[in-house]
Each structure stands twice: as C-alpha cells, then as structure tokens.
Symmetry: C2
C-alpha cells in the first residue's frame, strides 16, 4: 500500500500584539477549510501560532508574559479549530506557548503538538534549541528573549506513529542544527514539521540580514536530503508589530527539492502529496546509516565540550 | 592582524587509466604556477589526484590494484610538484591512494595531505566515510569498490595549525555527512579542504542522477554555514574512461555563500581571498556552540545504533 500523505503548510501572516486569539483561530480555520478542499490529511501551522511573537519584548511583569501562554489545550478559544478539524477528519500541528504545572512546579515551554484526525493530541514537543538571550539588551532594535521566557525541552527528538507514517516535530531555531534532523532520522522519522518565526534582522550580525531566506532554505533542504526525510517548514511571515519576518514556507522532499513554496508574506496555504516511502530512496542508498555512518568517529557530537 | 588566506581550488579534468602520473604532475604544476600568479598561498587538488578513479573497476589481482597506490610521498614522480611549490613558497593539498606498512602489516588508505610552504607534509588524513560496496556487482554500469580497496580511517576529523589558521581535511563522500563538518568545527577547524570524484550516475538510485550537482553544493554550503567554516570543494571532473564526473569545484564562505566556482569540466583554477576571522561572525552568534548546542539531547549521534 503506498503511503501518500497530502500535507498543507498553512503560513500565517502577522499577528498584532493585541489581536484576540479568537480572530487568529478564525484565520486558521479558513486555511483549514482550504486544505480540506485540496485533499489534505494534515495541516501544519507556525511556531507560536496563536499570538504575536512576544519574546521580542522585555516584560518585567510575569503576569503580562503569562497572557501569551495557554494553560490547557484545547481550550475555549482553540476548541472551534479542533472541532472543525475533527468534522473534516483532518490532522493538525501548531505551536503555542505552554504553561503547565507538574508536581506543584510551574513550567513554561515553546511547544508544538500533533493532533490526529479524530481530534486527539498524539504528540507534544518542547523546543530544544531556544535561541536569543536571557537578559534585556537595550541596544537591540527588538529583543529575542526565548531563553528567558521558556525552559528548554528535555526529551530528545523522536517521531510518533500517525497518518500511516513516522511524524516528528521541531521548532524554528531547531531547523538550523543538523543534529535535529539526524536524531530524528536515527529514530525513524519520515517527516518533520517545523514552524518558525524568523526576523529578517538579526541584531548580533546584521551583516547577514540579506541571507536570512537563503539560510532558511539551505537548512531545511540539507536536513531533508542528508536524512532522506520530508520537511515541512511553516512561517509566521510579514511585518508584525514593526518587525519583518521572512516567509518562504515550503515542503521539501527527501531529495532536498522544494516541491511547494509560499509566494506571499500573508495567510497562505501550500500543499504537496508526500509519498512517505520515498524516504527509502535516500536511506537505503547514499545515506544508509547502518552501512556508512561511523559513529565512533564522531565522539564529540554527543559530548559536553 | 587579519588572517587572509588566498586559496586556489585546482580542479582536474579526466585522467585516463593509462595516463602516466608524470603527465598528471605536469598538469598540476601548470595549475600551481597559475595559482602563484594569482597570489595564492595554498593550492588544493582533488581526491586521488594522481590517477584515474580506479575503484570503478573490479580487479581480482592485488598487484594490478597496487599500481594505483603510492608507497612513499613525495616520491620520484611527485617530487617536481613538491619542489616547484617550495620554490614558489606555496602550500599544497591533494589526495592519493596510500599503501603503507606499519608493524609488518600492509594498510591501504584513501589519503589526503597538507604540505606547508616549505615542502613539509604537516597533516595526513585517511578517508573516514568510504562509499560504495565491497564485492563485484556485475549489474552496475561501473563499480564503486572503495570499501574493497581501502581501509577506513580511524582518526576523527581534526585540524592542523598551518597558514596562520586551523585547516582540516575531508574527502569526497565525507562532505555529504553533517558529522564531518561538526566534528571539525568542535575542534576549531576554520577551513576544510575536500577533494572529490563524483559520477553523475549513481547506479543504486539513478532516479536522482539529475540532482548530483544540487546535492554537491547543498552539502558543501550547509556544512559551511552550519559550522561557520570555509569549505574548499575540488573536483576531478569530466568524462573519465566513459564515466561522467561532476565539476562544480567551489570555495564556500562561512555564510554558506559560494564565492568562487569552476565553470568547466577540465583543468581549471579558481581562487578566493578567505578571511579566516570571518568564521567568528557565525560561531559567536547563531551557531555559538557553547551557548546553544544541547549535546545531551543528541544521544544517538555518537552511539553505535
């Protein structure tokens, strides 16, 4: 039986700081319904899909920071998205800021989930590579306080079996690290879903701003090819609260080829019919890990150095 | 003091099976003299630069195989290259098939060396990722018997301090593995020199033949960007004994940008002025390993799985 998964990458345009989540959910449902009409089984939205990218502001008041977090999922605001997806039999993946209490201790994560076609959350991932900085840095045009507002995830990358395949998650900065894709691939991931919010301007090295789009695709395409894996990259794009975010949402085949790409910086759905069996074209050949990898020659990769 | 290294990537066109090594050395010296005239301090030649790519033939007779190997370096045939380089004060790097005896045991490696401006061999590397197969496979249009003819290298990737920088080596198939660049970068390599022989046709997956050039640059550029490292990729190119080899020799900046590229499939020199201090633009920012890597989240990368 061929394992074809028709995927929609649902890019979102900017979300204003005070835009109600219910309005965002309405936009997400609009994209969801397009996806249903185009034969998708899975719709993928960006990182922190429900709100503006709030780590760009230093907020001394934790109560204010917490207004951007969800304490339950689904919740009253996102329920219509879950319900509509279930009616249509569509799976979902999106990112959000998660506040959770475990054994009396509060945790805050940059989270992404996979929801199957019956509305069940079947996988939850906490972002491993938190970029940016921890303290307020006044010299920056805007902040990038992910290291302050979130704890890093503590569970390695791994897929879940759903949609007749091995599907995995990563978030934004994770996609720049070859380790992300390799850990996934060594555990059998066939498709990785990666939402992102990427400013054009990178304050510590503005001399590379003109390369942001190039680096985005370079990382996604190399990750796909070098692991024989489908990669779905989904942007929050456009000018959000004065900050320009790149778009370029794309679906990348296990050959590294971009097979679908967004051409706007707004809400836009792109789709591709992904044959999960094509991973084998790469993994049983040039990147047959068992035959060709030399892990004993990579002692530093897993080591604290 | 700025650390600018002007590098020449000296692509070689095809070498016939019975072409005398002395003729190849004459071609290499011709490229060397061009490099001197263009201000180079280091000239980089391909993998197995002195002979045709002999692993494409199954040879049952070890004595015949050994005709492609060098038992000393330099030797009578390569001495003119070493001497001319020394006269010009130029460093060299090239690959060759090395047969060596250690404690009475014969070893055969796919080797690459770095020669400093005084003619001394300052670094020797044995290829870690040997592609291809071990037994004769008659169904192939041509063989790829590296796993049969060579032992794999047993020393991890590491740079040598020379040319006022940290310079490292990798060979051909190594460049497809992100582990190669990362192990180098974690040991401080600022520039990696990579010769290759890459057929357009890959017998186990001919459906990807049209992507060979794309995969070549994708791997080299991702390795450069994701490690903030200069990458010098040098091909043996053109139709060699009926086998089409890709060209596309290139010099890649730590930003992943190709700053020089060959435009023929023959003997051709390309050059670039490489500022080794530019590695820091990437390594102290987006890929600040100490700040952002999470090695405890990559348990499988160094593990036998």
């Amino acid at each position: 039986m061929p394992r074809h998964l028709v995927v929609g990458a649902a890019q979102l345009g900017p979300i204003a700081r005070h835009e109600p989540r219910a309005e965002v959910v309405t936009r997400m449902i609009w994209l969801l319904e397009q996806a249903a009409g185009r034969g998708c089984s899975l719709v993928v939205y960006p990182e922190l899909a429900l709100t503006t990218f709030f780590p760009r502001w230093f907020m001394p008041d934790q109560a204010e920071i917490d207004t951007f977090f969800e304490t339950a999922m689904p919740n009253a605001t996102t329920a219509p998205l879950f319900e509509r997806a279930k009616e249509l039999g569509l799976g979902l993946s999106f990112g959000y800021a998660e506040k959770t209490v475990v054994d009396g201790k509060v945790h805050r994560y940059n989270t992404s989930i996979i929801v199957d076609g019956s509305g069940e959350i079947v996988h939850r991932y906490h972002k491993i590579h938190l970029p940016g900085h921890h303290e307020h840095e006044a010299w920056r045009a805007f902040q990038h306080l992910e290291k302050r507002y979130f704890e890093p995830g503590e569970a390695p990358f791994a897929p879940v079996e759903v949609f007749d395949g091995q599907i995995g998650l990563a978030i934004c900065n994770d996609r720049r690290w070859p380790e992300t894709y390799r850990e996934h691939a060594l555990r059998g991931t066939e498709m990785v879903l990666i939402g992102y919010n990427t400013p054009v301007h990178y304050p510590p090295a503005p001399e590379h701003d003109h390369l942001q789009c190039f680096h985005n695709h370079l990382s996604l395409q190399a990750g796909a090819y070098q692991n024989g894996m489908w990669v779905v990259g989904v942007a929050k794009a456009g000018k959000e609260e004065g900050c320009d975010l790149i778009g370029q949402s794309c679906i990348v085949a296990p050959t590294g080829e971009i097979v679908a790409q967004a051409s706007t910086l707004g809400d836009e759905l792109i789709t591709a019919d992904c044959d999960l069996d094509r991973c084998a074209e790469i993994r049983t050949n040039i990147f047959d890990f068992k035959k060709h990898r030399r892990p004993e020659m990579y002692p530093l990769l897993s080591a604290k150095v």
